[in-house]
Symmetry: C2
């Protein structure tokens, strides 16, 4: 007999809608804590948002097709009804945070166009999703190419109670610690919203090539580059003093793995000791900034081949405070998600499955 949470995880992550586990559903719903899924991709592609664009841009897409870098490689969930039937109503979810698709809008060279695309995505999300199901929360997509415009879009959308975070793609043309981005973080602090860095758009559009040595050849290398890029953002935000300038800012790292952070924080702590004379505004160990200011989601976690090692690594990242469940629905990797938890303690699971996200997002 599998433990309840293992069944639950297999259940929630199974792509067949959980039909094989339905007989146990009553047990699962009796789980003693609320489950929050931090990453559900609803379709915010051009096919959905076009009615929300100004006429000039609608005509542009009529004439030239989908004029967004990176295209819409995957569609996400089409509408609320589909999400309810396939996922929400089938699982014991207290809350699902929508993260959209079409992040290429943040890699468009024309930031005036990006502003309109982001406005369309956010208004569409409120109109067609947040108003339809109280379990759903939204992410504010911003034209991060031009931070002053991005801050205006945060100011416009943050008053909606369903909007719980600001979302930027991992791909960028400059690391996120640069003062260039300060207007975005000011707006996040002003409204008490976390910033989520979600994997995607590395090397696309106006973004830098996806590795520190240029473009890669294969899709696998591109996926691995996501971790490298996230490492660059983490170092940049800590060492350029973002958390001294914005002491209440919280940052969520989505979909570039989990355990890479352990040896990386050792490296950061070690070299900070030797080099801190050059960055006097960094007042604490990098690992302290990390544990206070960063959260990291479970998709897609690396699978240690050794249970003791996994447990120690979870301790090293202070998983009870930093790790949050994300399914990446409808693209999740159920095998990885299920395997990681097979030996973990209940107190940790409660935190990861909902408590940490509830606290972060004020849900």
């Amino acid at each position: 007999m599998l433990p309840w949470w293992m069944k639950w995880l297999l259940f929630i992550c199974s792509r067949d809608g959980g039909r094989t586990m339905k007989t146990d559903r009553t047990d699962d719903r009796a789980a003693p804590h609320a489950v929050i899924d931090c990453d559900i991709h609803h379709d915010t592609g051009m096919g959905r948002i076009k009615p929300y664009l100004p006429r000039a841009y609608r005509e542009l897409t009529d004439a030239y097709g989908n004029a967004v870098p990176g295209g819409d490689p995957r569609d996400g969930v089409a509408d609320v009804q589909t999400l309810r039937q396939a996922y929400l109503d089938e699982r014991p979810l207290a809350c699902g945070i929508l993260t959209g698709t079409n992040y290429g809008v943040q890699a468009a060279p024309n930031y005036e166009y990006a502003v309109e695309l982001c406005r369309a995505i956010n208004t569409y999300t409120v109109d067609h999703w947040l108003g339809e199901d109280a379990r759903l929360k939204g992410s504010i997509i911003i034209p991060k190419q031009q931070p002053v415009y991005a801050a205006k879009e945060i100011d416009r959308m943050a008053p909606h109670p369903g909007m719980v975070q600001v979302l930027v793609s991992n791909g960028a043309f400059m690391p996120y610690g640069n003062r260039f981005y300060d207007p975005i973080y000011e707006a996040c602090e002003r409204h008490g919203l976390p910033l989520t860095i979600h994997a995607g758009m590395e090397g696309v559009g106006i973004n830098n090539p996806m590795t520190g040595v240029g473009y890669v050849t294969t899709r696998a290398e591109w996926i691995f580059s996501r971790t490298q890029v996230m490492m660059a953002h983490v170092a940049s935000m800590i060492f350029e003093g973002v958390f001294e300038r914005f002491p209440t800012l919280r940052v969520v790292l989505q979909e570039a793995g989990v355990f890479w952070i352990v040896p990386y924080l050792w490296r950061l702590d070690q070299d900070w000791r030797g080099l801190r004379v050059q960055t006097p505004w960094v007042k604490r160990f990098p690992s302290e900034y990390f544990r206070e200011h960063f959260r990291i989601t479970t998709q897609t976690v690396e699978l240690p081949n050794n249970a003791n090692l996994q447990d120690e690594l979870l301790r090293q990242i202070d998983a009870e405070r930093t790790l949050m469940f994300a399914s990446n629905y409808p693209y999740g990797d159920e095998a990885a998600q299920a395997a990681i938890w097979s030996n973990e303690r209940d107190s940790l699971k409660r935190q990861v499955m909902g408590n940490t996200a509830a606290e972060l997002y004020g849900i």
Copy 2:
């Protein structure tokens, strides 16, 4: 009383020439295995190599100063006499591998000029170093900007018995798995020489910006980017099939840390399972290629804050077969080097301190 090897490490790595430990030197020399140091930086800057340049380029540097990207930020050891007195004669070294300075020659836009600079460095190293002390071995510096020229330089220098590897900087404009570099690997295989990727020149000259999201601001971030770049090279070489095309090629990773490889290999193995249909030429688990084809040196190792964890991580990288001692003399970080070994077993230390390098380099 410290164990012999701990004293030896403190001794060999101490910047004061080991004077504080001299009373124990006889014990240290009785160490039961040969020690090979894989990374000693001798000065190959313009001040040393200029007499070996063609007249046109000598005049160029007379007129414009040191026309090499990145300059010569650190000098390395001036000459053999200095190295003998300060390091070689003071320590129980069987062999030291010279790695030079001035890697900016590999980031120069003008590859015709880079060819002459590399020829000058290599000839200077043979004339002034390898001929002077039989314990010293050399690295062939190549104009990697233009692989066909690089292969010619390997062919020119490889017959010298003191030349034991080919050296490229970590910084590059294209990841090292790209077929662009194949002439270099053909030459390495032809002469049975390993390729060393040594940290440096990330984001300098014609190289790509040092992270997958562009240039960084602080020196600390630049140092952290080295690990990210090395991750890109490792994925690129494995997933673009370098080791299927060149099955005897060995690659040494120098000076970008050690333990980052553990979660990274989990990631590579996991995603290879899902994506291998797109890279059918990758026939084995990435971690298998790593253990067979890569070696990694101890400088600068991350310091786990937990002895059991360190031991498990050393097992994960198969340290007895893959890890090799490098002091990075005269810049080494003795504290990190000494701390890492305080709980390790003798069989591992023998491998790391010399046996693995002896086998790799045929010493």
